[in-house]
Amino acid sequence: MRSRAEPQTVRGVPSTNPVHMNSALTISDPATPGKGRMPVHSLAVRIFHWLNAVAIVTMIMSGWRIYNASPLFAFRFPREVTLGGWLGGALQWHFAAMWLLAVNLAVYLIIGLARGHFRRAFFPVSPGSILRDAGKALRGRLPHETGRYNAVQKAAYLGVLAAIVVTILSGLAVWKPVQLQELAALMGGYEGARLVHFAGMTAISAFIVVHLALVLLVPSTLLPMILGWARKPAEQTGVEGHVP
């Protein structure tokens, strides 16, 4: 188990910890921590996160309604969890929310790459470290460390970002199988792109289930994604021993 005494960020001073997340996105951060507070998520990360949450949920719920019009598999999604009311309404939601999803993601990727957010927050990560941390998590021996990701978290966030990108690309192929036929061909054509699109949605949905379950397990992670800061580790009690 990691020591609690491991260096944490002092306000405004970059941590010696190279993967500290907040130092990465430095767009004016109003989450000025007071006494006993430490910055966790920058304003840019929080804006991206919540806009992305709205876009993804809208895309999935409207997408389920579109799926129901011509199911790929032997089931339909319950009407109650779909958006749009009918196919035409669902398509309108899907093709409106796609702009929010794509523009928000593009801004996040550009800023995140330019400012080194990804490098600091998600790297280094290796298969060995993922397996090691996953093993710890399964034994309930992986502490949640506010302000830095363990290897399983890094893999999960990089994975869901990749899944979103794949789902957007396959969605483009389904939307434009003639104009973007070269892209569609990479996925086995129009029908192949439908399957890739469904698989991408499934991966994102699985991430959301685990993501929400972990927030329920470690509720102290929720407020920092809204306010930007968390209480300093000295005041964090009872978080160790939880899965990430």
Binding site: L91, Q92, A96, V178, Q181
Partner: protein, 253 residues
């Protein structure tokens, strides 16, 4: 990116087809209007909600984006005879037994709008024009797809033959089943857009749209009207049976 799109959005591919009244400024103006929609509640006499208006505005925006990325020379993928879906699915807003039975005797395609020679066309005369055929994928708005073989008159050739104003914005269709739809001129002039008279080398059967359907492999299935009785060229947005209920108008593939 958006600037480039807006620049391109006003020009449809091929033959200097500038859309009148769709300059970059109005394009940007409409984008701004989109953002300002929430401030305009109450200005519309209809009882549509602000959310509905936002969704419709986004759909009109998507029309423009699709027109901008549409390549009038890019062919849809074609397939082999052995790929043809058999049986090819029937699809309409009614059941197959209610498909209209149009008699060839006495039928003539009516022309209207911005067309120089509005003389109507019997099937016999249409069959006498140079024919083409294609094996392409029909993609339904619902998601399923099926491969079929259609033959008939290249629609662009037909439009030029009758002296249609190919700088106009739309071609509209009226059908025997009270269906109606319309396509943009760039799509109408696409080399694979055909006035289909046959399916699998046989006269188009009733269930697939006798006497003729517009086969548009660069658009979703519902943009391929069947049982066409009349067509017209216009600059006034003609809408369509499904389009007026909420399906995206351009619906390009």
């Amino acid at each position: 990116m958006s600037l480039k799109l807006s620049e391109r959005g006003i020009i449809l591919p091929g033959k200097s087809l500038k859309l009148p009244g769709l300059g970059r400024r109005s394009f940007l103006k409409q984008s701004l209007t989109l953002g300002a929609l929430s401030l305009l509640t109450g200005c519309d006499a209809s009882d549509e909600s602000a959310v509905d208006r936002m969704l419709w505005a986004m759909s009109r925006w998507n029309d423009k984006v699709q027109a901008a990325i549409f390549d009038g020379d890019k062919p849809a993928p074609t397939y082999a005879e052995s790929d043809i879906t058999d049986p090819f699915p029937f699809n309409a807003y009614y059941s197959e037994s209610r498909a209209p039975a149009v008699a060839e005797e006495g039928f003539a395609l009516e022309l209207g709008g911005l067309i120089a020679n509005k003389e109507s066309w019997t099937l016999e005369r249409l069959r006498a024009l140079p024919q083409t055929s294609q094996i392409t994928r029909h993609i339904c708005v619902e998601g399923w797809s099926a491969i079929g073989k259609w033959g008939g008159v290249p629609f662009g050739d037909f439009l030029r033959q009758v002296g249609a104003d190919t700088t106009a914005r739309y071609v509209g269709f009226k059908c025997a089943d009270d269906y109606y739809s319309s396509v943009d001129m760039a799509t109408a002039l696409h080399p694979q857009t055909i006035l289909a008279l046959t399916f699998r080398d046989q006269a188009l059967p009733r269930k697939y749209g006798f006497p003729m359907k517009l086969r548009v492999p660069t658009k979703l299935g519902f943009k391929n009207p069947k049982h066409i009785m009349a067509m017209y060229v216009t600059n006034d947005y003609p809408g369509g049976y499904w389009e007026d209920q909420g399906y995206n108008w351009f619906s390009g593939s």
